[in-house]
């Protein structure tokens, strides 16, 4: 099961993860069009948390027992039993924001303009999640692991 882990000690707070997440979830997949032409603009599913020197990028943790899935009134949120990825069916999402309230990580973004939620879908259409692929300082790690284990430290740390 793959997971994305932020490395706070090398996150430089540039927000390029947000930029590339937005592009990956845009219609055109073209950065300039995604920002300048598409309305409503796509919403990044990852968010940089920063205060002073501390920063890290946070997206859906794809929890073992996701409270958002339990809370969802319409059954729009589902956890895939094979991949472990929590996905949203935007056809079913009614924009009630219950999952936004329930997520203890604050990892679900209300897409107010569309009246739907936006959340990390692990960029299943790409080889690698856009945030991981485009982090300039390798501060987002894609780790293959079983859920019980703590995040692996990189080989040389």
């Amino acid at each position: 099961m793959k997971r994305i882990y932020p490395r706070e000690e090398v996150c430089i707070g540039c927000r390029l993860c947000e930029v590339h997440c937005l592009v990956a979830h845009s219609k055109s997949k073209d950065i300039i069009k995604a920002y300048k032409r598409e309305t409503p603009r796509a919403v990044p599913r990852i968010r940089l948390e920063a205060r002073g020197p501390v920063s890290f990028a946070l997206n859906c943790r794809h929890c073992e027992e996701p409270s958002c899935v339990q809370a969802c009134l319409t059954g729009a949120l589902k956890k895939d039993p094979d991949t472990g990825i929590v996905t949203v069916d935007t056809e079913k999402c009614v924009g009630c924001w219950t999952c936004v309230l329930f997520c203890q990580y604050g990892a679900i973004t209300p897409d107010v303009e569309r009246g739907k939620i936006a959340k990390c879908d692990f960029c299943m259409h790409l080889k690698e999640p856009a945030c991981v692929a485009n982090c300039p300082n390798e501060a987002l790690l894609l780790v293959e692991e079983t859920p019980e284990k703590p995040p692996k430290e990189p080989a040389h740390a």
């Binding site: 927000r15 920002y35 300039p136 300082n137 390798e138 740390a157």
Partner: protein, 501 residues
């Protein structure tokens, strides 16, 4: 006071490409870019731009171009823009002008006037892809002669400590405090991977890097910061720093703002206090005094490590080097006028010292003439840019070279010369924790190791072309060099013939 110093750079933002993501705003440590919420647009305050290219490199749409400000003065060879502006700056501040990196003045670069030989017809060249090439270099004092034991199966002569390096390129002294812990870690890991050495500089060694000690040169300089028994024990080589190419005759000054809790602990000084390295070692006023320190360090480490002595290349470098060898130095490190620094008075950096090429040649010749060249290895530093420079230095007589600036460039440095401000946007020469994170040691060490690998492949290519299969066969062999566009005196000092001769 109103400044008369114009902007150095113009920040051009292609509005058709700018998506307002504000990555440039987050990345500029000089606060050039800012977000105008009212106009929903990024604005730039151009007078703050130092030309480090951080924003341009990180802009996801390539919307930013940094150009030199074309504001021209009336043409005047004597009063060029830089000299006019230096006078403005001093008239406004009344102070010594500080700067970082190596000199940017057009001192003659002799590497560009030296060319290498290659084998043609009468001797075969070697293909380094098919045949083994030996780059290993042993640093340390070599014996006058070697005596073998019974049956010539063992060595009778007791050898002084020798330190092998697998590529004749080491990382120059850059102190923890001047550069960040992530820079030190990157250098240490890359040196370990490449089988070479990194130099701590005068600021001690962070305990978390002790595990790289076998690839570490521990420096002892005039302030003795961070020097203690364990530090000396951990290192592979001990280096006494007398001088530095960027600022011969000048001490060091790490401002109190950079002396964080950890820097203070490693340097063994109170937090927040200025770390002042005196200009001279106050216990070294002669060769005899130097000898005392060399032997004190050898004694302290039970004669297990070579002791290096580093000086800035100055007019009498050859005579001084001879004295250093006689004082017991096992390695002579020479730092030429193009050597760099984290902070130095500009007037010193640009005007004091001699080019490293001439220093290598004159020191090597002098030590040979006196019959003591075997007693010390010669390490050259000061502006080495590529493998060609390295090979030429070795042909001139060096055993190995130090690279500092090239190593920093490998980690992202754009040589913007703002090291002395402590605001390095690339997170290299700073102790600001929001900036130091910008150098991920995983990436830094990988880039450095790649650089060393690339240079060693190129060195092997050059050696193969020369028809030699070991660096030892090139060392001090100036017949492999020829001079182009040099005067007779220059050729004489360099000890090389004119091309065509």
């Amino acid at each position: 006071m109103k400044t008369y110093v114009p902007n150095k750079f113009i920040v051009e933002r292609d509005e058709s490409k700018c998506v307002g993501c504000q990555v440039c705003v987050t990345q500029c440590s000089f606060e050039t870019h800012s977000w105008d919420g009212e106009e929903q647009a990024v604005k730039s305050q151009q007078d703050r731009c130092v030309g480090c290219h951080r924003c341009a490199m990180f802009c996801p749409t390539g919307a930013i171009t940094i150009r030199r400000n074309p504001l021209e003065y009336r043409e005047n060879y004597n009063w060029r823009a830089e000299y006019i502006e230096d006078v403005y700056k001093q008239a406004e501040t009344g102070g010594v002008l500080l700067t970082g990196m190596g000199t940017d003045k057009p001192h003659k670069i002799y590497w560009d006037h030296l060319v290498l030989n290659a084998s043609q017809v009468t001797n075969p060249s070697i293909d380094p892809l098919r045949e083994p090439m030996e780059l290993r270099t042993y640093l340390g004092r070599k014996p006058e002669k070697v005596e073998l034991g019974p049956g010539n199966a063992s060595l009778k002569t007791r050898l002084a400590p020798q330190v092998p390096i697998e590529v004749p390129v080491m990382f120059s002294a850059m102190s923890y405090g001047a550069v960040s812990i992530n820079v030190h870690e990157s250098l240490a890991r890359a040196a370990t991977e490449a089988g070479t050495l990194f130099n701590t500089g005068e600021g001690g060694l962070h305990p978390k890097l002790y595990k790289y000690g076998q690839n570490t040169i521990v420096q002892v300089a005039s302030g003795r910061f961070g020097v203690h028994a364990e530090y000396l024990d951990v290192g592979r080589v001990i280096e006494i720093k007398i001088g530095q190419g960027a600022k011969p005759g000048i001490g060091g000054h790490l401002p109190g703002e950079k002396v964080s809790k950890e820097v203070a602990e490693v340097r063994m000084i109170p937090m927040g206090t200025d770390a002042l390295s005196p200009a001279p070692h106050h216990d070294i006023y002669s060769i005899e005094d130097l000898s005392q320190l060399i032997y004190a360090l050898k004694e302290a480490t039970n004669y297990t490590k070579p002791v290096s002595v580093k000086i800035a290349a100055v007019h009498n470098a050859a005579a001084i080097a001879s004295g250093m060898v006689r004082a017991g130095a096992d390695i002579i490190a020479l730092d030429g006028i193009r050597g760099a620094t984290g902070a130095a008075p500009k007037i010193i950096r640009d005007n004091v010292g001699i080019p490293i090429e001439l220093a290598i040649a004159s020191v090597d010749s002098r030590l040979r003439a006196e019959g003591i060249r075997n007693q010390a290895s010669l390490v050259a530093a000061g502006g080495f840019r590529n493998a060609g420079d390295v090979v030429k230095a070795i042909a001139l007589g060096a055993d190995a070279v130090y690279i500092g600036t090239a190593a920093l460039i490998a980690m992202g440095c754009a040589v913007c010369q703002q090291c002395h401000t402590g605001k390095c946007a690339w997170g290299i020469c700073t102790s600001d924790i929001t900036l130091t994170k910008r150098l991920n040691p995983d990436i830094g060490s990988r880039r450095l190791a790649n650089l060393l690998r690339a240079w060693s492949l190129e060195i092997k290519d050059i050696l193969g072309g020369l028809g030699v299969n070991a660096l030892e066969s090139l060392r001090g062999n100036r017949l492999h060099l020829r001079g182009v566009d040099l005067t007779d005196t220059e050729l004489k000092v360099l000890g090389v013939q004119m091309a065509g001769e």
